[in-house]
Amino acid sequence: MPLDGLYGRIIMDHYRHPRNRALVAAPDIHARELNPFCGDLAEVQMKLDAAGRVAHVGVQAEGCSIIQASASMMGEALAGKTPAELEALAARFRDWLQGRSPEGAADVPEGLQALQVVRQHPVRLKCVLLPWVALEEGVLAFLRRRAGEH
């Protein structure tokens, strides 16, 4: 079947029951990213704990099923990470999704691996990546702000 499981169980479950959708108040890291070509929107907020690790995550997405599922799946992979670890994860995920990852699936958390199927639908890769672009933007802005403070 040519859809190759694009609308498979895990993706559809995240689409129908998105995790971490609640807005996080007074976030340390936050960003919003729009894809004007289709109106897709992804927004992410994170609150860090005293050790500088992600304690609370909020992710909201509007648009197609793939971006909503991707946002929800991303949100589940962020807890406990430092901003630098978030950056590294985003870079690894991007490489892995586009098949450029040296370590293959070992490079990304298992919870994200159902998204591999989107490789068969290259035009939809940007749907998957939009929440990650928001994450990267948010982390970058946070690191810049922090560097400015010191």
């Binding site: 040519p2 859809l3 694009l6 609308y7 793939i66």
Partner: protein, 421 residues
């Protein structure tokens, strides 16, 4: 490639006197399967498929005639020049323009509009002047004017449309005035299919002495165009939507306006004589055709025009209208589906959104069924915003489409509902 879908072969014969089964055999690509399903090509507003006659013409040109035009004294160059100029006459006849020299070969509608913005606009539009467009323009009929307005200190004004996607003529009329220096409007909306009242648009603008450009990208392939009856000053369309090659398009301009305009680009062919002190420009239409043009594209477009003429644009329009009505009826019965763009005067474009699924998901699931549609904002973001949708799914029809293909679309949409229920 596999054989022509037998269902499609039976189709169409009963409607409009058009032998669609026979016509489909002229388009080799339509016999293909995609993802193991017969191709149902409903993305004709993006680009149309090419009949064998056009493909053969390109092969013949490159095989036996390839030469540069307007330059050589040798046989091939003369042959290519004659064919190239012969197509100018065909286009003139297609649009019922008064003279061949009013037909300028360009890359496509976008370049045609940019040519007018740069050559006519920079000369004639100044600070505080106004350019009027409509709320349903393609980005290619917005951005060139914004660029011009920015450069010249002019103002872009937008005639609104109603929720059905119809131009509000009273509001349009109120926008016109002594400051109006140009009106540029879409003839048929690519996102909605609305057929604008072009003749009235032109008449109203002319009361204020403002010339009118009509963007005919979605009109020329689907209806007879008569630029003299419309009274428009410029008319633009693309060859690739009229069953011709990509990279070739037409700008029609009234000779008096074109004569007074400076060249758009400098180079070979557009000059009469060049010295370092002074260059004399060539006459129309060559003044606007700098450099070696897309000769093969022009000749291929000529074959496409012959093909369309052999069927007849009025018959094409009648058949496509029947198909649009059938499609509208079928889609209207689907629960959760809403047609976007419900103008009384409409061409064969069925834009829709669904409660159940985002247009991208609709597009991907239909693709898996072999059905090609367009999803997104259709290069008309301000229009999408006006209508309150981020994107739509769009099925756009051609005379080679059949009722059976509309039925396949409906079945595909049922599959979307199934996946998302």
């Amino acid at each position: 490639m596999t054989a022509v879908n037998p269902k499609a072969r039976r189709a169409g014969a009963a409607v409009s006197g058009l032998d669609v089964a026979k016509i489909r055999q002229d388009f080799p690509i339509l016999g293909q399967t995609v993802h193991g399903k017969p191709l149902v090509y409903l993305d004709n507003a993006a680009t149309s498929q090419k009949p064998q006659a056009v493909i053969d013409t390109l092969v013949r040109y490159y095989t036996t005639e390839n030469a540069n035009i307007h330059r050589g004294v040798h046989a091939l160059s003369q042959m290519a020049t004659e064919e190239y100029e012969g197509v100018r006459t065909k286009v003139r006849q297609l649009l019922n323009a008064a003279e061949d020299r009013e037909i300028i070969f360009v890359r496509g509608t976008t370049e045609a509009i940019n040519l007018v913005a740069q050559a006519y606009g920079r000369q004639n539009i100044g600070p505080e002047d106004e350019i009027v467009i409509s709320a349903m323009e393609h980005h290619s009929n917005i951005v060139p004017w914004q660029m011009l307005c920015q450069e010249r200190g002019a103002r872009l004004r937008v005639a609104p449309c109603n929720d059905a996607g119809e131009l509000l003529l009273d509001d349009y009329q109120r926008l016109l005035g002594p400051r109006t220096k140009l009106v540029s409007m879409v003839h048929v909306s690519n996102a909605l299919g609305t057929i604008n009242p072009a003749k009235q648009i032109v008449e109203l603008a002319h009361r204020w002495g403002a010339p009118v450009l009509l963007d005919g990208a979605q009109a020329a392939p689907h209806m007879s165009i008569d630029v003299q009856a419309l009274g428009c000053d410029f008319y633009a369309f693309s060859g690739h939507k009229l069953y011709g090659p990509t990279g070739i398009g037409i700008l029609y301009g009234r000779a008096a306006l074109l004569e007074a305009m400076p060249p758009y680009q400098g180079g070979g062919d557009m000059i009469r004589s060049v010295t370092y002190e002074k260059t004399l420009y060539n006459t129309l239409p060559y003044k606007f055709e700098a450099g070696t043009p897309h000769i093969a594209g022009v000749i291929g477009l000529g074959a496409a025009i012959d093909y369309v003429n052999a069927i007849g644009l009025d018959r094409i329009a009648a058949y496509e209208e029947e198909l649009r009505q059938y499609g509208t009826k079928c889609l209207s019965t689907i629960s959760g589906l809403r047609l976007v763009g419900t103008a009384k005067e409409k061409a064969g474009i069925l834009s829709f959104v669904m409660e159940q699924a985002h247009p991208h998901d609709i597009g991907t699931i239909l693709d898996a069924e072999g059905i090609a549609i367009r999803t997104g904002h259709h290069c008309a973001q301000p229009l999408m915003e006006r209508l309150g949708v981020a994107a739509t799914a769009r099925a756009s029809l051609s005379f080679y489409n059949t009722r059976e293909e509309i039925d396949a679309l409906v079945k595909g949409i049922d599959r979307v509902i199934e996946v998302f229920s």
